[in-house]
Amino acid sequence: MSRLAQPKTSPVIKRDGRMGGGAGGPDGELHNDIRRMNLDQTQSTNADLVATEICPVCKSSRYLNASLRFLVNPECYHKMCESCVDRIFSHGPAPCPIPKCGRTLRKHRFREQTFEDLRVEREVDIRKRVAAVFNKREEDFENLRDYNDHLNDVEDITFNLIEGIDVEETEKRFEAYKQANSREIEENAQMAAHEKQSFTQQQKVERHQAKQRREAARREEEEERREAEENRKDVLKRLASGADADTVAKEGQRVQLRKRMDRQAAAERQRQLQAAEDARNNGSSNFVIKGLKAKTKAEPEEPIDPFGGLRFVDSYYSLQDDYVWEGIQEAKKDVRQTAGGYDVMDYARRSLVAAFSGLGVFVADEVTQRDQVGQDAEAVGTARADIGVKDIGMVDAA
């Protein structure tokens, strides 16, 4: 990269470059600055490598000071050495010393970077921030598809923040969601923290038990070795005092066997005790079961409504038990009509509905109502179903 080429390439770098444009713009310039500065200073072709070694503020280099530590501030991710941070920000917030940045930084926010690539560092920070707010779990969703859609939305927001697309609008959406769901977010966060805590506790308990088991095994082994040694000594002593070699050897073996049996019995007793202890602990609160699903409070179930909330109320007429019209009277008398289950009162009701149909329908009202409900035309339609039974003059073809 020559100096002549630099001005041409710089706008490109600025736009899509190593920082992907950055949330506020200055991020994108960061490496550009670093690069240009390095070129000025060292004329090195290996600018990136050197950039990691020299503080862009005070120009001190790791070559001269091996203990040089670089810090970044998540506000603008400009890198500078620890002593510069101390020097500039000790007396409170101050603007970033990198040219053209000028963001107000605070000392306590400076930290060592985890990833070598600052782009990655920034992305991870943003992801952390978004994930802390969108902490819904799969169990919260009706089905996998909804969960995946949600994840997709979250990823859209994250991507926009990272790549700096519609940052303001995205931030607004993000904040709105945070405001609206603060309680839920808090609950989920607590649940996650609790799970993590119980998991670490469980691991700790397991580690402790494993250690105890190892120690017990080691102690036992040592004990056995010591006894074997003692036994051998005993046998030798008795042989030295002039006893019969065979009987002494047998005696020694018997003693050893009995001791081993004793030890096994003791171990068994110990195990039983331990099991009893475990069982006792199981019931108490200091035993943790991992992988439990967080219980949602079961709402008291409403009594069953066989009609599913649908009520048909005749608001314009009341159906009489009988009508004197001869058509109805004759149909009532005709056995061929009634024996098949034909109910002439169905006809009377339908005629009344037909007579009044359309009277309760106010199109303008329905339109406003639908707009209020949120374009849910079906809900309005169902609510209106009781007023006018719509289909009247349908003649069967068969």
Partner: protein
């Protein structure tokens, strides 16, 4: 490109290759009338996908909205062609459109739109119900287990839909398990309104040759031409019994009407003037040669013990011979069975492996009152032997 003279094959006359039906005029460029414009507008809202089922009468495709690919629908394309003898649109599809576009209920399949494509094909945009039907659930004895609470939940949804139809003066007239489709959330949707009609005026005759024969009530076998919502309640009762026993309640063999009447006499009792006043006046009534008394309550209880005493009480009242003594859909919903223990299962707990989208495709292509196709229960139905396939 000139063809080689060595290939002495005469070119096919171009007329044969050309499509017989003229290409539809491009509506966007020409000035079309308003109806065509509206039709095109509706048609462009959907993207047709894979074919889910194909029948003699209709094809069913999966489709989704152009504006939102997650919103799935099923498009039932009614076949119109030389193989359909009748001119114009078939009665079945006319009825289906007429009633479905009026009915809006959570347990009735939703008709979103209707549009026509080239050759005046009718396309019904229906709700996408991916979990198959109740028949597949009932038949999958080894694979699907369900409890009496599940049965109660399904029946409640079915009766709500039936009640809603009757309240809107519509008789469905083809209630059976393979017309009960299962939605993604597990709820039951009443489909296939191809045989539905609105309730008749006094003295206006209705056909008695309707409802799939296994689910047909006795008054239709006796050729009653005046009937009411109780015909659907009988069908619901048959579905209820089928859900419990996992086999068809009244399944006569061969499936003639005489045999069906005999079967009903055996299983419920012989209709007489005592238990059904006026039955002998019905046109198709045949004086019984042998008399079976009404089946006593304890026998019902013995075969349907799982739904409890109240369930059996309801079942008996739904399968009463005399349609006037049979409960109406509203009466069924007022029965204490629904509010008694066990509570109906919640939607998310219901089994829903009713065969998937293919089953929906198969069901929606069927004509009304057809017995189920292919294997399963129809295996004893005489099949037409396909000599063309034998070689």
């Amino acid at each position: 490109m000139a063809t080689s003279p060595a290939l002495d094959v005469p070119a096919e006359p171009p007329l044969k290759r050309r499509k017989v039906s003229p290409e539809p005029p491009d509506i966007t460029t020409q000035v079309a009338d308003l109806a065509e414009q509206l039709d095109a507008q509706e048609r462009k809202k959907y993207v047709k996908g894979a074919k889910l089922g194909s029948g003699q009468y209709a094809d069913v495709f999966s489709a989704h909205l152009v504006s939102d690919p997650t919103k799935l629908v099923a498009i039932k394309k009614i076949k119109v062609g030389p193989e359909v003898k009748e001119f114009g649109i078939s009665y079945d599809s006319l009825r289906e459109i007429k009633f479905l576009q009026e009915l809006d209920h959570p347990n009735i399949i939703k008709l979103h739109a209707v549009f026509s494509t080239k050759n005046q094909n009718l396309n019904l945009v229906l709700e996408h119900l991916p979990q198959g039907d109740l028949l597949k659930l009932i038949q999958d004895v080894g694979g699907v287990q369900y409890t009496s609470a599940d049965i109660k939940s399904w029946m409640l949804m079915l009766l709500r839909a039936t009640h809603f139809c009757h309240k809107n003066n519509i008789l469905h007239r083809d209630i059976k398990p393979n017309n009960l489709l299962i939605a993604a959330d597990g709820s039951i949707k009443l489909a296939d309104f191809g045989l539905a009609r609105s309730m008749a005026d006094p003295f206006q005759p209705m056909t008695y040759n309707t409802i799939t024969i296994w689910y047909r009530p006795p008054e239709l076998f006796f050729q009653a031409q005046h009937y009411g919502g109780q015909v659907d309640v009988w069908s619901c009762g048959c579905v209820f019994a089928e859900l419990v026993a996992r086999e068809v309640m009244f399944r006569a063999w061969p499936e003639t009407e005489i045999n069906m009447v005999k079967m009903i006499c055996e299983k419920v009792g012989t209709p007489t003037e005592e238990n059904w006043p006026g039955v002998s006046k019905l046109r198709g009534y045949v004086t019984p040669t042998e008399f079976v008394p009404l089946r006593p309550r304890d026998q019902w209880l013995a075969s349907f013990r799982t739904i409890g005493e109240q369930g059996v009480d309801l079942l008996v009242k739904m399968l009463t011979l005399d349609p006037r003594q049979r409960l109406s859909a509203e009466g069924v919903l007022r029965h204490e069975f629904w509010t008694s223990e066990p509570r109906p299962s919640r939607l998310k707990d219901l089994p829903r492996r009713g065969g998937g989208v293919e089953t929906m495709g198969e069901d929606l292509t069927q004509r009304g009152a057809e017995l189920p196709r292919q294997n399963g229960r129809a295996d004893k139905v005489a099949r037409k032997i396909d000599f063309g396939a034998m070689k």
